[in-house]
């Protein structure tokens, strides 16, 4: 039996609804993500990817429609519940790392645990585990300014992973990395996924997307098409993504 981690029904988002120029960024989006899946969301610039991700992450509210994550309807939460939800159930990896440069790597990774007031000894162990999963155990006492871009993004990934979230959201996490570093990070994300963590990745880079198992294409605020890797290898999947993008973007 598969359990649903994310379930959105008929999601609409209208920006500036009460102004003279309302803009409908999402026009009825419905999809599900099952536990342990690695799903990509692709689409041209302005198609509504970030809008969708912000709603899923409780950073923004949909105009209508429902979003369930781990069985909870997140659109009904109070602001404090939303904050707690983000710190306990979600992991984030952003394009621009978003590490605090005054904190050590260790403290950066431990931040979500501190927010839940996890005990020092427990938190230490969890940070160590997350760090070794991303191969950054040696960097724990360093400061972000002493790290390379790839290392920084690993730290961010460790931070996303540390509180055992139901799902990790990534918005163009490879956007600021060179190809080697991007590839390494994607490999790691894939390993994390194979260990059972669900991941939802927003990207417009076909190479990044080819690491996913399933891809949803968004166009003008609607889900246009959906493809699965199935039994193919990544190179074949990559080819299909390129083709789809070719036809899709016309």
């Amino acid at each position: 039996m598969t359990t649903e981690i994310v379930n959105t029904q008929n999601l609409h988002k209208i920006y500036d609804q009460n102004s003279e120029t309302p803009y409908e960024a999402l026009k009825g989006i419905s999809f599900t993500v099952n536990k342990g899946e690695f799903v990509g969301i692709m689409g041209a610039s302005g198609s509504g990817k970030t809008t969708l991700l912000n709603i899923l992450a409780t950073l923004d509210k949909p105009t209508s429609g429902s979003v369930q994550i781990g069985g909870d309807d997140i659109t009904q939460l109070t602001p404090n519940e939303m904050s707690d939800f983000r710190s306990k159930k979600l992991g984030f990896i952003f394009q621009d790392f978003n590490l605090l440069e005054t904190l050590t790597v260790f403290e950066n990774i431990a931040l979500p645990l501190s927010l839940q007031n996890v005990k020092g000894s427990v938190s230490k162990e969890k940070v160590q585990r997350a760090a070794s999963r991303l191969g950054i155990d040696q960097l724990l006492t360093k400061y972000p300014t002493q790290l390379s871009g790839g290392q920084k993004q690993r730290v961010a990934a460790a931070r996303a992973l540390v509180s055992d979230p139901s799902i990790i959201f990534g918005d163009e996490p490879t956007g600021a990395l060179d190809s080697t570093n991007a590839r390494e990070l994607l490999d790691t994300l894939q390993q994390i996924n194979q260990a059972g963590v669900s991941i939802l990745l927003v990207t417009h880079d076909p190479f990044s997307a080819s690491f996913c198992k399933r891809i949803l294409f968004i166009k003008d605020g609607r889900i246009g098409e959906e493809i699965q890797i199935g039994n193919r290898n990544r190179t074949e999947f990559y080819q299909e993504i390129l083709e789809k993008l070719g036809t899709f973007e016309q």
């Binding site: 923004d60 509210k61 403290e107 431990a110 979500p112 927010l115």
Partner: protein, 607 residues
Amino acid sequence: MLFKIAFSGVRARWKDYLVLFSGIIMAAAIFYMFEAIALNKKFVASTTVGQNARAVFILGAVLLVIITLVYVFYANNFLMGMRKHDYGLFIMLGAKSTKISKLIAFETLIVGLVSTMVGVVAGMALTKIVSGFLVSALEIPVKYFQALYGPAVWVTLILFMVLFLIASFINARIFAKTPALKLLKAENQTDWKQPKTSRLLIQAVLGIFLLVVGYYAMYNIQSLKLNAIWIGLVTIVVGTYFIVNSFFVILLQKIQRSALNNRGINSFTIAQLKFRIRDYTKILSVVSLLFALALGAITVGVGFQSDIPEIANGQNAYAISATNPSAEISARIAKVGGKSTVNYQQKISGKTVYYRAGEFQQKPIKYAAFVMKGKNAGFSQVKTSSLNQLKNPDSSAYQQLVALQNPNLRAFKVKWVSDGVFNQLKGRVNQLQLVRVRDINSQYKSLKAVLEQQKKEFGPQVVQTMGESIVMYTMVKSAFASMEFMGVFLGIAFLAMLASCLMFKILSGAESDKVRFEMLNKIGTRRRVLRQSIMLQILGLFALPAILGLIDVGFGLQMFSQTHLLYHAYNTFMYSAIAFLVLYLIYYGVTVLIYQKIVIPKTRSEK
């Protein structure tokens, strides 16, 4: 065209500009008000201390210019912090940097000019209010005050324009010389490195040592004389710098290693503070010293006021003396509360004043004596004089009695005789009435009414030479009024300016904090927690100089109590410190509110 874009930038950030404008307006207003009073020769000369007051006012003016300089510097930094990014972007997009340089210079000048002019007008209004206060509280005659005083307008305008002219040159240079990319990124570059613990320790120890030396020097001002001030000044300035630079970083590091660090976003708050304190070392040291100066000025200024009864009581044990008081004087004396009155009969024969010895044995006269030794050394005390003691013309009691008689009897001898001899003497019997009060401060009004009547009857010159303690009281009161005024005025002006310096500095950093708070919000920090973090961070930055300043003043006052310049220095200190902290807290609150408005993200989902 560029001008239009630049102006739209101003409109977009009008709130920040409002803070900037009100800050400069306040500084200019304070400066104007001070100059309107200090430059006013008639007023300064009218105070009893004359030349002395001039010196005090000049010293005050110099201090005010220095703090204004520092202030304009920080206000300008705040402006540059706002504009660097905008103008940097223009240069990136191809605007000539010479043109941008001119634009920023122009903007700086306009900001300076407009706010200074508004400030001068505000200063005139303030002068009107303050002169009212001076008249009622300090009894300085009102006729010398002018809200609009030409020389003060010029001095204020010229000083501020020169400062802003310099600032605009500096700003223009920055834009002409700095590459555009650096202008854009300037705020995001934070090369935070962990300072070496050994170096911190050495600095902390050195800092404490220097402070101790400084405090000790001030305590020993009796033997060190003027050197105490020089030693104190140097060691405390350097010591404060070291302490800020090291001691508090070490303290925060200790907290970081404790379990406290793992709770909520404490790790972030503490790290931010640690990072900031090093970045703020200079301003925090300056602020702590100014804080001490300001608080010290108020305490000393007001402290002199509390010396007045002490000095007056040292002059004579009796507040009022009246020989054959008129009905008016008697009526007024009757209104004095908490008094004890004594009457002596007096006859004048030849060049001698005669009293009944029996009366002085029955109702011994009191006199003020200085305590030479022990805990109360330096204070005055009321003592009762025996007749034998009184008969000695060199005794304080004898001299104080002579000073209480009618002034035309100054050169006469005083003799005490038996009732028989007294009755034989020719001439009429005078009544010498002496009035003592328990608390001269609380009876000031009613005593002064008696004094006014005496002046009316005998002429002010005559009364002025009398030994009544109320005469001394009124004289010292007006002499100290200018000291008190200066202390309170400079104290509040300093506080207002240093607190807004700190405010500007803190708010200049808000922009670069935005991304951090946005990230914390994304990973699920509650808004209340974010707000608390800001309150704590800014509290740390405000509290640090305040604590150091309070300690500085606490020890600095030793100079005044050791030399007996001030009798109740520490009582006054408590009150002025409380008043001061309240004002300071208001600044703290405002800074926190503005900061929160800037950095706490408004998530649409929480609307």
